[in-house]
Symmetry: C2
Subunit: 185 residues, 2 copies
């Protein structure tokens, strides 16, 4: 009874628990029940809760990388504007896929030290993308605005509807892509 999609379903269940009930209710029993599997079956795929958490983070990172690559391919490979790629990635990630980021909430709530590798990579990318740019401060503003919008939705304190979010992301992208405008912000 090989079910290759089983891990996917488990991770889906874990995410939806985090989104719906909060990371404190992310328990092995709850995950098993939500995806109609026994606890033993769950443990077979993820031997520990830590494994489940790292699995959630890994999937988020995979998805992020996938989206980024898609954007780069679609862009052709002119001189890439990594800030613009970041912003488009976050636009893609919401609202359909923002649940993936529940992984962050889960890890931060259950085992914050698991964030370290993620943070380091995040840090490195941010540095590569922004610190080198002539207009660090203003690029940062665009970056954090996209992040802020994304987190708002993730933390379920979103105050803008889909249309407005789209509008804001589009404007962010426009600003990130036009170097002229950026300098004059």
């Amino acid at each position: 009874m090989a079910r290759p999609s089983c891990k996917k379903q488990i991770l889906d269940a874990a995410e939806s628990i985090v989104i719906d009930s909060g990371a404190a209710h992310l328990t092995l029993d709850a995950v098993a029940e939500r995806c109609g599997i026994s606890k033993g079956g769950l443990i077979y795929h993820f031997p520990t809760k830590e494994a489940l958490l790292t699995g959630m983070i890994a999937r988020l990172e995979e998805k992020i990388e996938l989206i980024r690559e898609g954007i780069r391919r679609q862009d052709g490979d002119g001189m890439t504007n990594e800030l613009a790629v970041d912003i488009r990635m976050m636009r893609e990630l919401s609202p359909e896929d923002y649940r993936l980021s529940a992984a962050l909430l889960a890890v931060i709530a259950c085992q914050p030290d698991l964030m370290n590798p993620f943070r380091e990579q995040h840090h490195k990318r941010f540095w590569d993308d922004l610190i080198s740019s002539r207009s660090f401060t203003r690029s940062s503003i665009l970056f954090f605005a996209a992040m802020g919008l994304h987190f708002h939705q993730l933390l379920n304190i979103s105050i803008v509807d889909n249309e407005q979010r789209r509008e804001i992301f589009d404007e962010l992208l426009r600003l990130a892509e036009s170097k002229e405008n950026l300098r004059e912000v």
Copy 2:
């Protein structure tokens, strides 16, 4: 043996647990131990865990209101630019007081429905402050940039140091306060 600061100490302990170990480790036993009180004593002040969580949120809201009022008073009461007040408030809130926002993480992780009143108020203020402005999209960008920066620190994925954060907040404030620039961003 009246100790009026006892509730404060309990809330401090709760926050530091959330920051240090994650919201999943925010247990009544842990809080009691961290602030050197018995579990019974803790329960005396906060009869349920829900009461503790709402107490954390309430303190956050109080602090926010306090800072906002301070800013408004200091500003004189010319026509207030609420967006600028928001941004200055978040600048004040970090890095010294950002731990207060751990209340958000705790509630979102443990009992997300307790966020509803907070979200509504947040929503209302955002609407009052920004939706009416002629440049909604660009004001939103500044607002979410400040939020994004704040959440980054709260979620402990901060990628900028204090000096850079200051720099970014200052620039945000400058943009929020100069209406000319805002329109031309």
